[in-house]
Symmetry: none
């Protein structure tokens, strides 16, 4: 099956946004055995959109379109597909009621222009969108398929995963491609590359290395004629990857470090609290991004002044003797977090977020503390990058330390 | 001048990388008065590459190609351009010496395959690349221009800034394009569209509407023969946009809501503290993403249990009488934030993040409180989406309320 992706929106042509929808969808197709030959971006202009759709319809078996399904006058994807196929748009009353219901449930007045989102052509089936008002379209005619999805990435990805992917799965046949991603933290990309270098030259399975904000990821991909054969190749490759990188691997595939930590806490029936300087709330919000985190997360304190630290249990002498950015203070913060929220484990961060030095310590220096009541752990980091990357990096390091504490037999 | 961008590389079609080169270049063209109509991505396949280049050469005055200039066999951009134009490739000896020098200076052995990077066709002029071995191409024939640049973003951006941009500047025949973006919050996209509908049909300036996670953005773009003329068009358009959307507009262009709030706090010499239930730390981390926030942000508390709320100053009767997700409790939280951190203003959030209802209140219901010691404000929201989107939406709403409080004369 030969596929093509079209992303619609003048903002793409003005360089205001980067087309992450296309790369997301492109990455979804190889496991389906679908070959992607073309991607293009086109503005909110009906004539050009029709021309691009026409060419895709002629040369591709599957065309995936994102964007241009909104309620305003410059949202033209429905109109362009109708024109390209020579079909007429008509308002579908069930869809209209669904959209009206979406607004009614939220107690918001619906604008009359939202009605156009309920329009369909005879060859199109509406695809439910629980994240927004724009239904998707599944168009099938003359042995070809065209799928139109909303442009906002969260809406598109949800519709893709829940509705489009399962339909395409049922149609794909033949070659099986399986992948597994291993997520590491604590080693630079080049070191990871050196450690797995014998695997890098393998043609099947292949191993790719990607530096990400939460560490270095390795992606193992096997191609085989059957599922068991592909699985066997992945199992053997995984054993080799783990034999050299074992202790640095914190998760696989779509796992997040915060979800891994949450699972370990739940398994051990432990609770957690945080006290953040440096990371300014990012550690707490990352922990609470996990659904069900309220069962193990007790709370957090963001302390942006000495007085707040002292009021919440850090001894003033520690601050005056060692400074805020010190192993002593970060350790006292972890303990204070644990005690003041009545949690089993406390984590803390303290460092220099910039733009200026603190206490003669350079921007990027950070301490992380973990206290479980029986043992204390303090690690020091020194990260490059801007303020927001520093916070992200510190949060990842704190969760990685937390995972170590939880995984240890202690 | 009508332009087109082509990005070359199979990794783009596999979704391994996102095409940031295209969005970078797209953003560079409007100030040159160059209209970009098409962007496309194509793999390392000569036949398809020739086809895409051919179409671009026919319909566009300027074609910008990135990628495919490397030394390996799958780098085919030079070959494809030569085939498309019917010209012959030949090794250029000056270029060959330059590439050999690049390796000699770095004391690295040059691979014989690097020689192909010294190839040119008669219509092409080599463009110097100080960041790498692949020279760019400037091709000019029959009144059209085609520019080929290396794919690695650092090499491409350097070549663009130093070599290509100055050449295009000398040619751009005076047309000026100016844009201004207005960022709103609190109205659905369709309603914004209805309110500005008379402006949407204008051909110059144009007005585009985009739904974003931090609200609905409007982009006004004017094209004129001189800078003052374009500025005058933007000023008049801005007055019309503000006359209908004034109170909903919180910022322009690259401003963020957290930076706007930070600026207002700094101007008024006020300090801030937060108490978060629902938003779980996202409000604090968003506030502390702003460089210099430590001067006005005192701290924050993330309360994930009744006991924590009570320990930090919320009266237990309020919780038992009204429930955690109530105007009464969120108001008490804002006050407690202000008092316990010794700040001038307290903000709070409380709501149902899911997956389950709380106190019979549905997922997505949220209250936001703002307390400045003299007045209290509580707003209710009801947002669609998953946990992470809900947190983001609540944080935006809280900052928007904060901005209202700061902007009011009180």
């Amino acid at each position: 099956m030969r596929a093509e992706i079209i992303s619609v929106g003048t903002e793409l042509l003005l360089g205001e946004i980067t087309d992450t929808n296309a790369s997301f969808l492109a990455g979804q197709l190889p496991p389906l055995g679908i070959d992607l030959y073309w991607i293009s971006q086109v503005g909110d202009n009906q004539a050009r959109l029709v021309e691009v759709l026409q060419r895709a319809w002629e040369r591709s078996d599957l065309t995936l379109v994102t964007g241009g399904l909104g309620p305003t006058e410059d949202d033209l994807t429905r109109e362009a597909i109708a024109e390209m196929l020579g079909e007429k748009l008509a308002i579908e009353s069930t869809l209209q009621r669904e959209i009206e219901g979406f607004f009614a449930r939220r107690d918001i007045k619906m604008s009359p222009s939202n009605i156009k989102q309920a329009a369909l052509i005879p060859s199109a089936e509406a695809i439910h969108n629980i994240r927004g008002t724009a239904p998707g379209w599944w168009v099938e005619r003359d042995g070809r398929i065209l799928v139109a999805m909303p442009g906002p990435p969260a809406e598109m990805q949800h519709m893709w995963g829940e509705e489009i992917l399962p339909r395409l799965h049922r149609r794909s046949a033949g070659a099986i491609i399986l992948s597994k991603t291993f997520k590491t933290f604590g080693l630079p990309e080049a070191t990871v590359g050196d450690l797995v270098s014998p695997l890098l030259s393998s043609a099947n399975p292949t191993l790719g290395i990607y530096a990400k904000i939460d560490g270095v990821h390795l992606r193992l991909t096997a191609k085989a004629r059957s599922q068991p054969e592909a699985e066997e190749m992945i199992t053997r490759g995984e054993a080799r990857v783990r034999s050299v990188l074992g202790e640095y691997i914190w998760g696989t595939d779509s796992e997040t470090l915060e979800a891994v930590v949450g699972r370990l806490l739940t398994e051990k029936s432990l609770t957690l609290a945080v006290m953040e300087g440096y990371s300014g709330g990012l550690l707490a919000t990352t922990i609470t991004d996990v659904s069900g985190s309220s069962t193990y997360f007790r709370g957090g304190l963001i302390a942006y002044s000495d007085e707040v630290l002292i009021a919440y249990g850090v001894a003033p002498e520690l601050i005056s003797d060692y400074g805020i950015v010190s192993p002593e203070v970060v350790q006292a913060m972890a303990r204070a977090a644990r005690l003041s929220f009545g949690a089993d484990i406390g984590i803390s961060t303290s460092g220099v977020a910039g733009p200026n030095e603190i206490e003669g310590k350079p921007v990027g220096m950070v301490y992380i503390g973990v206290d479980n009541g029986r043992s204390q752990r303090v690690v020091k980091g020194n990260y490059p990058g801007d303020r927001i990357r520093l916070k992200r990096r510190t949060t990842t390091a704190a969760l990685f330390e937390m995972r170590k504490t939880l995984a240890s037999p202690d």
